[in-house]
Symmetry: C2
Subunit: 230 residues, 2 copies
DNA sequence: ACGATTTTCCGTACGTCGTACGGAAGGAGT
DNA sequence: ACTCCTTCCGTACGACGTACGGAAAATCGT
């Protein structure tokens, strides 16, 4: 039976010999590597190289690649500034919180995807969750309504950030591959003829990401507020 | 210069020789394989084997693995039933539409992730988008508000479906790995002591996925409705 | 009818990946 | 000094995406 490794559990137990690596160091290196190379660019070999360690050394600290992703995700979530000025009303505070979250996800475009595909149980994710819940409790929610409200906010910011970063990256590399882009565009235009509403109401080129994000956020917050009287 | 492959463009042009494969056949096989093996389990080799073809034969029809994902995603989106009874009010119609979407995403748990990480430009995704837009135009929205409203709904259903399927899959395999689960739980409980709001207001075991989904959906729809007067 | 052309099919090969395994090396405790 | 536990990591295996180029087949021009 192999030594059990913690996987997805966050503390580190006793350590009878002083180690060169640590889960924290690995987490930080993973974040840095993900920022530069993206999700597809993170490999155990590259990660180890960046830490001047042998590849297999990582496995003393980490259960596998999935564990690295868990670690990196929680590490990035830690960048969200959680403290809010005393006495700030809940709606304003939540707005700040969500704008912050989007900022962090813009710095780490790989984050929304990872958050959507794993249970976020790291300490920083839990802390963030605590803040969201307590702000909405202050607003007057509890029980399933509370859970649902937290969900809508979380899914919105994750979904928006994911969309934004895929869009931005397509815009970037299409500067080089303008040809293929032209064909795709032409194809879309052809489709548009059979989709009149879409054609009339959407512009593809201008993209006011900031304004658009705030608009959607207002919708969700309005919806939460609308349910308070019930 | 290599023969250009369409990538992400959807029609197929002239065909001077009758082919055994086709983009449609590949798309269907990819969906079936993804359903069984998940995103990580889809490989070009396995996909080809399922079609009784050599691996490299796929590349006559498909630009690469990314293209296969695009194809599979649009193919799955096709399962969403788009027609709505005549005269049904917009809110009810949208609800139907979103419940449908969630159902499809439950049948294809890999779908929400793929949708979040790529621009959905396939014919079925565009058709779905057209329906959403026209329903919200009927509701009285236009311009950036319209775009934002479509966004909130889309992100909500994708985010919820992604959460639901990761949760469900964890619940499944934890039947086998109950030990590790117990440790995770114990860890969570320890964290809960420092997160009082979270501790008081969340239950982990019971999970009324259907009801919870509807609650969140009502929030978003309420929010859209609240913005109509402005 | 038949060669030329075009298109489909796919075997081989290369570089990369995650990680199982087992050994080496280095304190800590006795 | 000896044991034991931990850290470190070289090697190796099977699987992956796909570039390349050749074989075979269908179509077309004549």
């Amino acid at each position: 039976m192999p030594r059990p490794r913690p996987s997805t559990i966050w503390f580190s137990p006793e350590r009878p010999r002083k180690p060169r690596l640590s889960r924290e160091r690995i987490a930080r290196a993973a974040v840095a590597l993900l920022d530069v190379e993206g999700v597809a660019g993170l490999s155990m070999r590259r990660l180890a190289a960046r830490l001047d360690a042998g590849t297999m050394s990582l496995y003393e600290y980490v259960a596998g690649k999935e564990d690295v992703f868990d670690l990196a995700a929680d590490e990035a979530v830690a960048e969200i500034d959680l403290d809010i000025p005393d006495g700030m009303p809940w709606r304003e505070a939540l707005t700040r919180q969500l704008v912050q979250s989007r900022d962090v996800m813009r710095r780490h475009p790989w984050l929304p995807t990872l958050m959507a595909t794993r249970p976020m149980l790291g300490p920083h994710a839990l802390a963030r969750s605590e803040v969201f819940h307590s702000l909405l409790v202050e607003a007057g929610l509890e029980g399933p309504r509370l859970t649902a409200a937290v969900g809508t906010l979380t899914y919105y910011v994750q979904g928006y950030a994911a969309m934004e970063s895929t869009w931005r990256s397509r815009m970037r590399d299409s500067a080089a591959e303008a040809e293929l882009r032209r064909r795709a565009r032409e194809h879309l235009d052809r489709q548009r003829e059979s989709h009149p509403t879409l054609a009339r109401h959407t512009r593809l080129d201008d993209a006011d990401f900031d304004g658009s994000f705030m608009l959607g956020l207002e919708i969700v917050l309005d919806g939460i507020e609308a349910g308070l009287g019930t």
